[in-house]
Structure formats: C-alpha cells, structure tokens
C-alpha cells in the first residue's frame, strides 16, 4: 500500500509532464490535422534553455529559488515559443496546400536538424543540473513500511501543470483567439471568410504548444537533473502516445492520456521491469490504434451538417 502510494505520486508527476507535451501535439493536430514531428525537439530545447538559464542566473547571483525558477520558466517559454513559430514558418507554412505527406516529412527533417544542431553547439555529453529544489515532505513513515514522500518539486510540477491546463482550457473556451482556433479547426475556409487570419492563428497554436513543451522541458530538467540532446525523441513519442490514447485533437484527452501514460510507466517500472517500461507505453499505442483509434475522449467524425 505504501509502495503503491509512492508510485502513484511518481506516476502523476511524470504524467503531468507528458500531458503538457501532449497538449502541443493535440492542439496542432486539431488545427491542421497533422502531427508536429518536431514537437519533441522543442521540449528538448526547452530543457537545454533551462539548464543554461539556471547557470547564467547562478553566475549573476540570482540564487533565491522561487525567483530563479520563475525567471527560468519565462525565459524558456519565450525561447521555445520562438522555436515553435519557426518550425511552423519553415516546415509547415510553405507546404500548405501541397500533398499531405510533404509537411510531415519536412517536420521530421526539422526534428533531425534541431537534434543535430543542439548536439553540435552543446555537445553530445549528458548535461547535469545540480538539484534546485530538494526539500521532501514525508507523508507516511511506518515502522517496517515503505517511506512515502512527496518533494517540493513534485508539488510544484503538479501545481504548475494544473494551473497551465486550466489557463489554456479557458483561453480555448472563452477568448476570441480560442474561438478562432476552434473555427479554423472545424472549417478553415469559413474562418477566413469571417476575417480570421488563418495563418496567424495556426502560428499562435504552434507557439502555445511550444511554450507548454518548454515548461515540460524545465520540469524534466529539474526533476531528473540530467539531459542530453536526444531526450526529445522518446519523450515526444510518449507524449504523442498520450495524445492518441486520450483522443488526438481533444485537450482534456491529452491531459488524461498524459496522466495515464505516466501512471502506467511508473507502475510498470515498480512492479515489473524498468527496462521494459517503454515497451509498455508503446504496446498501449498499438492497442489504442487497433481497437479505439479515436482514443478515450476523441469523437468519431459523426456530425450532422
């Protein structure tokens, strides 16, 4: 029971990070009907920007943790937003209206380019970040039992994720930008007939997704303490799995999918084998694609028009 509880906490934390990345996949898919294959790299770049920012802040003497974390988050979101914008501008927009596979291939190219670019300028070795937050709250510590604890960092990750998700859901549901995004998702031509700048709306969607991936990058850097130029690939595919599991195109689906993937990974590692945790995730991807391609919260395209 104690052990289970601890794994639950770990799984939820992991799931929050996957969920944030998955939102970027699902939003972009929702609006242009295509997977952004470079999205995992944006997350990886977010992690690098976090490490660099923490180092720079340390050098210039900003060491008060809450302030440093806030600055790092803002900087990372700004930079990854620019990267997300650039990916859309370079890999997607010039190919809009061309055959469907073309932008996917150019996005894979973008992903390979970004990986190699980071490897080139940052080196191939693993980058460590000394623990920034290390306080732990012990929840349960019975004699002979397993010590259950939650760290400050885990609480921060959860709180930040929940806040961001609520914030984004509100933007999509209530603001004029969110309405424009949903309009483009449902009928791009009609959206432009109403005066919506479709190109700009698509750009902003990439930018929003990238900023969230940037936050996930910061969190994973602080959580694991080590990163390298290759982390975007696996995390990207897992977040993609989360988006598919939840129902691609659905925002709550991406959050739910992320949570489930995080839990599955944590429990699989705890009770079966750590080595095969990735296999567990991908078996789920395969099963969902075979038996429920619309995902848990996805809707089949049955609309009366």
């Amino acid at each position: 029971m104690d052990y289970f509880l601890q794994q639950l906490i770990n799984g939820v934390t992991l799931g929050a990070i996957y969920g944030l990345v998955a939102i970027g996949y699902t939003m972009v898919y929702g609006i242009i009907g295509m997977i952004n294959f470079a999205h995992g790299e944006i997350y990886m770049i977010g992690a690098f920007i976090a490490v660099i920012s923490f180092l720079v802040l340390g050098l210039i003497g900003i060491t008060w943790v809450p302030l440093a974390v806030v600055i790092v988050l803002i900087l990372t979101m700004l930079f990854t937003a620019v990267y997300g914008w650039a990916v859309e501008r370079l890999a997607y927009r010039p190919l809009r209206g061309s055959f469907r596979l073309a932008p996917l291939i150019s996005a894979i190219g973008m992903s390979i380019f970004l990986q190699n670019y980071v490897q080139l300028v940052q080196g191939a070795r693993v980058k460590p970040l000394p623990p920034v937050m290390s306080d732990v709250i012990v929840l349960m510590d019975r004699a002979g039992g397993f010590r259950v604890s939650v760290s400050d960092l885990q609480l921060l990750i959860l709180a930040l994720t929940v806040t961001l998700m609520i914030g984004f859901t509100q933007v999509i549901a209530r603001t004029s930008l969110g309405r424009a995004q949903r309009a483009c998702e449902q009928d791009m031509k009609m959206a432009s007939l109403l005066g919506i700048d479709v190109d700009r709306t698509i750009s902003l969607t990439f930018v929003m997704g990238a900023a969230l991936a940037g936050v996930a990058g910061v969190m994973v850097t602080m959580y694991y303490g080590v990163i390298d130029f290759y982390i975007g690939f696996l995390a990207g595919i897992k977040a993609f799995t989360a988006a598919v599991l939840g129902g691609i195109g659905s925002l709550p689906g991406a959050m739910l999918g992320g949570l489930l993937i995080g839990l599955i990974e944590a429990f699989w590692s705890a009770y079966f084998s750590v080595e095969y945790k990735d296999v567990a995730t991908f078996v789920i991807l395969v099963l969902v694609l075979i038996f429920r391609p619309t995902g848990l919260l996805g809707r089949p395209d049955l609309e009366k028009v």
Binding site: S176, R179, R182, Q186, L193, L194, K304
Partner: protein, 243 residues
C-alpha cells in the same frame, strides 16, 4: 465612408477564375450599386458560387479587376477583404457544427468586436429563433435555422455588402418566405447592399432591384428584376421549367 445610394459599390471587370486548368469564370463584368439588392441567377454549375467566392479572394481571380468602394481588392487575402466590409453567407451555410449558436455569432463579429453587443441584439431581433437556440450547437440546428445563423453570422461583422449564396436552398416555403422578408427588411430599413445568388429565380427576381443571368461562366443577360421576370428567354429557361 458615407456613400450615396446609387454609387457603384462593387465593380467586377473582366474577371477570370480558374480551378486548376478549368476556367470557371470566363470574363465577368458586373456592378452592384450602394443600397441595391442584386441577384445572380443561373443553372447549377454556371459558376455563381465561384463568383461569390472570387469576390472574397478564395480563389483569387487570375485576370481582371474587382473594385470595392473605390479600392482594388483583387489581390487582397480573404481575411482582409472581409475587414473592408464584405460578408458572405456561403454555399452550404458552413455553420461551425461543434460550436454553439452564440459562438458562431461571436465569430461573425471577430472583425468588429466594438459593435458586438449592438449587432447581436439586432440579429436576435431579425431571427428570434436564434436567440432561443443560442446555447445549442450549430450542428444540431435544422436547415432553416442554419440558414438564419449563416446570415446572422455574416451580419455580425457590420458589412456594407452582404453576399448570400442560395439562401433558399433546401428550405420549406414558409421558411424561405421568412428569410426573403428579412433580406428585404435589412435592405430597406438598414440600407444594406445585398448581392444574392439564387436558384429560386422567381422569388429572387421579385425581390431584387436588378439581376444578372449567368450561363457557363459568363453573364448573358442583365436587367431589372421585373424586366427579367417578363423576359421570355428567362421565363423559358429558369421560371417555367422548375418553379
């Protein structure tokens, strides 16, 4: 930008539009004057909807010139044309099915947020049914309600020129009468200029001040609504056969 009734608001000169290699518009010349209701009638596939879409730059005309209120809009992107004051209720209505009626109307006002509340009230006054259904999803509306919503959504941007593509298509006679009454009202009471494509030639010609007949990508006839109603050629081709 007050313009007197009768001034040319919209002019198309020698407009050609292509879909790939297919020439859908083969040199269109027409004008719509401020304050008019002008209708364009013609058989299926004549290019009527293409003409309306070309006005909105989707697709853009390959040759020719489109001038709206003195400005050449031929090469403007679609979203900019709407901002100049042209709104369209397009072919097939294109209601956003997974958004509520209210959200559809809010989207219509996306280029004119300042006058949103005022326009919403006006649209609800014109179509009380939309007010009753405002929380319902667009995709669950009946055909007539969707048509009302499409027109209401177009009005939300406060256009000076309203483009309507087949507002009567697939609707019951009673609903058609209601919608045509609204078109007449917004023209007469609000001075809205209307350019309307219709298959229901009889009703359209009775409503319109002037009309154009389109055959196979070309304008073949033009005149007043009443004049075309009396024209034997038009009667034979569009009035006595179907309606």
């Amino acid at each position: 930008m007050d313009r007197a009734a009768g001034d040319p608001m919209l002019t198309m000169t020698g407009v050609h539009t292509f879909y790939g290699a297919i020439e859908a518009l083969k040199g269109i010349d027409l004008t719509v004057a401020t304050g008019e209701i002008v209708t364009l009638i013609g058989a299926n596939g004549a290019g009527k909807s293409t003409l309306l879409m070309t006005l909105c730059g989707a697709p853009q005309a390959r040759y020719g010139r489109i001038v709206f209120e003195g400005e050449d809009i031929t090469r403007l992107p679609t979203c900019q044309i709407v901002r100049r004051g042209i709104a369209q209720s397009p072919e097939g209505r294109r209601i956003f099915p997974r958004m509520t009626v209210l959200e559809n109307l809010q989207l219509g006002a996306i280029t004119a947020p300042a006058s949103y509340a005022e326009e919403l009230e006006r649209v609800f006054l014109l179509f009380p049914r939309l007010k009753e259904r405002s929380a319902q999803r667009g995709g669950t509306l009946s055909g007539g309600e969707q048509q009302m919503l499409a027109i209401g959504r177009a009005l939300m941007s406060r256009p000076r020129l309203l483009l309507l593509d087949e507002p009567s298509l697939g609707l019951a006679p009673l609903v058609i009468r209601q919608i045509f009454q609204v078109i007449r009202d917004i023209n007469r009471d609000h001075g809205m200029t209307v350019f309307m494509v219709e298959q229901n030639a009889h009703r359209a010609l009775r409503l319109a001040h002037r009309a154009y007949v389109m055959v196979n990508g070309l304008i073949t006839l033009t005149g007043t609504g009443a004049g075309l109603l009396a024209n034997p050629e038009v009667r034979a081709a569009y009035l006595e056969g179907g309606h």
